[in-house]
Amino acid sequence: MFKSALLVLFLASPAMALAATQAQEFQLDNGLKLIVKEDHRSPVVVSQVWYQTGALDEVNGKTGVAHLLEHMMFKGTKAVPAGQFSREIAAAGGKENAFTGMDYTCYFQQLEKSHLPLAFRLEADRMANLVITEEAFAKEIQVVMEERRWRTEDKPQSKVNEQFQAMAYHAHPYGRPVVGFMNDLENMTAADAQEWYQHWYAPNNATVVVVGDIKAAEVLALAKQYFGPLKPKALPARKPQVEPVQMGTRRAVVKAPGKLPYLVIGFHTPTIQSKRSLQNNHAKSGQPTVKDWEPYALDVLAGVLSGNASARLNQSLVRERAIAVEVGAGYDSASRGQLSLFELVGTPSEGKTVQELELALLAEIEQIKQHGVTQAELNRVKAAVIAADVYERDSMFYQGMKIGQMATMGYDWRLSQTYPEQLKAITSKQVQAVAQQYLTEDNMTVATLAPQALDPDAKPAGKPHMH
């Protein structure tokens, strides 16, 4: 869920005003974006390099290549052979890692503040000079397949979620798993990884976010020194991708070893419009126009349903009626693909079925469609946002995450600053309106887990992934 807002200046106390300064944005001549947020509470720095490429940009047959390439980025360049990147960061006391999502791929280091040049030198080098060998690829693809087994194959709820996404999105790449399908991983080649790197890794497709005890002007000078000499590339065209309007409920059942059933219900919903999609608005055929306030109203709806343990779903279905042992609602108001799903999830109590839980969840939605929400509920959602505004600033990494995500999804990252105000303006009528418009039967996708008893004597039936 997009929780928001970075900057509240507490002018009452000079110490606080010093601690929280505005982030500053720069762009190098080669197109690289740099966003620096000074935070002088501790002598440390977080450096994140965000590439605007992820599973969203993959094509059929090559799912998982964005994530595979993220692994290959640790396999060395001519100047920095395999393993040396991690050793140099470790020697400087640093922590590093990377993650890949639908919308982006991000590489980060956390360091004592004087080591920022090291992070920049190494990241700039692998932005342009990565070496992908057959030998390194052959090992790393095995590692990624183990990652898929661990994340998805052996986790019943992950398997349900994979099916759920695939069913909710028939045309759009959000229907495919970030880690990739096992068949695609088994058939992936070093050349596929190389192609991905050639296409997407370039300064004009990257945003560098730095948060910490540093001066923005000095970071800009370092960025020019290390990233400045890199040549921009012509990036592949990004074609507009839309999901055809859903014309009726979709359902699937997944069987996996386990005890408890599980249920996911999703409804196609809009996101906050990015700069790019506002420009392209007319290119999208047959898509309904989104009103500016709708994503904020959907976010409030998610908060009213499951923002805390006394919110509607838990209070009613877990505590009062004991239909479920676990329930929740979720919604992401921002994405690069400009699509989102409003989700309801839950696990029925012993003796209750997923069908009963589904009906009970939908009855809660119906209540809101009919009667709206209370002022006290709205106030709680707002109180959470106001407090999060302060709490978030305890973590430099999280501050960087928010800026990097927004920028890479195609938004003005300053949107975070107006988010609380937008949320505070939402009324009960607007919450009611988005529930009525989007949380409908014809727009609904339902996936359920049918748990299969574990028989310790049974051998697994068939071995689909033998090599």
Partner: protein, 432 residues
């Protein structure tokens, strides 16, 4: 490269040579006998409080396993006449966040609130700490939910492996008890059990209160006094029994249809404040604690592509906490991976570490010190730990020096004395 390393070492020595205290910790005792640890920090208009009790899962027995966890959980669900809905709403109305944690040694309750809302937030927090009602109807419902969770966990390979590992490692010692409990023991828990456990273990004399944030010391004293004064004024809690070391190897293979085998290996490790803590900590960084640069990751993942994750760690507790090595790999290659892990460990114990590895380990651990303390949340967890285990108040100030003093000989000696790999416990869930 050499120049860079030199520069790095120079910078590290500047950081390490800084004689200023890493964190200024104020420490005192309340009138009711609780130990208090406080760090004043006005950067953000918020404050964090953590109250810990020696009320972890090791205070239970095989017949009431899970009681510690149910007690902690139920404290939030009715207190001082407020029902569960009122309590959560009262926190939500002001954006306060209430947390809790349980391990074998301790149960803790925490609160994060905006300074402007602290009075109301602390009032509700104190009700939870001082007047838990343990409503019967809520208990009945929660027992059902907890049992559903246990039954689900009993089908999942990671939980199966963890429970079997702790059981094999600790035998009759209470560290072997599953934190969540067992179906039968949860079923048997009564409201009176909760009241009695609370009265016995949530005592003012054993409470450790940690505070950080936007408050003066006088304010922190008032907050701590109030927390402490309302707790049961019952006797302080005794120690946890000592751990007996395994006298023979114990290998367990458990069938499971998962595509990966889940493998855990280990031995009882170290205590908080243990004389061997630093040699074992630094040594383990080299063996399997150092992320992408450890020997286990190099051998099992980087060279052979056998796993996504392989690690080793020491979890120091009040008594000997586990030393654990863990990995998951597709079951067809479980034996191969296990052989590589065993060979790597055997070589490590027999031949020790190189000077280059030791230098790199110290460089990372000491150079990364500022990142241990770069948020209120992290500092709070350090002072809560220092307080609970009564470590020296200079623990953080001395940390880098302690690390720098470790020698290769000390690492080899400590691993040889403490980690008897011929008596290892190993659990493989989903073996071929």
């Amino acid at each position: 490269m050499n120049k860079i390393q030199l520069l790095i070492l120079l910078l590290i020595s500047i950081v390490a040579g800084n004689s200023q205290a890493a964190v200024k910790i104020e420490h005192w005792q309340t009138n009711a006998g609780s130990r208090v640890y406080f760090v004043e920090n006005h950067d953000l208009p918020m404050l964090d409080v953590n109250v810990a009790f020696p009320a972890g899962s090791a205070r239970n027995t095989p017949s009431n396993a899970g009681l510690a966890g149910v007690t902690l959980h139920m404290m939030n669900l009715g207190a001082g006449g407020m029902n569960e809905e009122d309590i959560t709403n009262a926190f939500a109305d002001i954006g306060a966040e209430k947390g809790g944690a349980l391990d074998v040694d301790q149960a803790s309750l925490s609160l994060r609130t905006l300074t402007s809302e602290q009075d109301q937030a602390l009032a509700i927090f104190n009700k939870i700490l001082h007047q838990p009602d343990f409503p019967q109807a809520v208990l009945n419902r929660e027992k059902t939910r907890i049992i559903a969770g246990i039954q689900e966990a009993q089908t999942q390979p990671d939980s199966i492996a963890n429970n079997a590992f702790m059981h094999a490692l600790y035998g009759a010692h209470p560290y072997s008890l599953p934190e969540a409990g067992e179906v039968e023991t949860i079923n048997a828990i009564t409201r009176e059990d909760l009241q009695q456990f609370y009265q016995q273990y949530y005592t003012a004399k054993s409470a450790v209160i940690a505070l950080i944030g936007d408050m003066t010391q006088a304010q922190a004293r008032a907050i701590a006094d109030k927390i402490s004064a309302g707790l049961p004024q019952t006797p302080a809690i005794g120690p946890i029994p000592t751990v007996s070391l395994p006298t023979a190897a114990n290998e367990q293979k458990i069938d499971h249809p998962a595509s990966q085998a889940h493998i855990l290996l280990g031995y009882p490790g170290i205590k908080r404040g243990d004389a061997d803590y630093f040699p074992l900590y630094v040594g383990n960084y080299i063996l399997g604690g150092g992320g992408f640069v450890s020997r286990l990751t190099e051998e099992v993942r980087e060279k052979r592509g056998l796993v996504y994750s392989v690690y080793s760690y020491f979890m120091p507790m009040a008594e000997l906490g586990p030393f654990q090595i863990g990995l998951q790999t597709k079951k067809e290659q479980a034996n191969e991976a296990l052989t590589v892990v065993n060979d790597t460990l055997a070589d490590f114990i027999k031949n020790g570490v190189t000077e280059a590895e030791l230098k790199a380990a110290k460089s990372n651990i000491t150079g990364g010190f500022p990142m241990r303390l770069d948020s209120n949340r992290k500092i709070l967890s350090y002072i809560a730990m220092i307080g609970f285990y009564q470590l020296p108040l200079t623990y953080l100030d001395d940390f880098n020096q302690q690390v720098n003093q470790v020698t290769a000989a000390q690492i080899q000696d400590a691993f040889n004395r403490r980690i008897h790999s011929n008596h290892f416990v190993s659990v493989i869930v989903g073996a071929e």
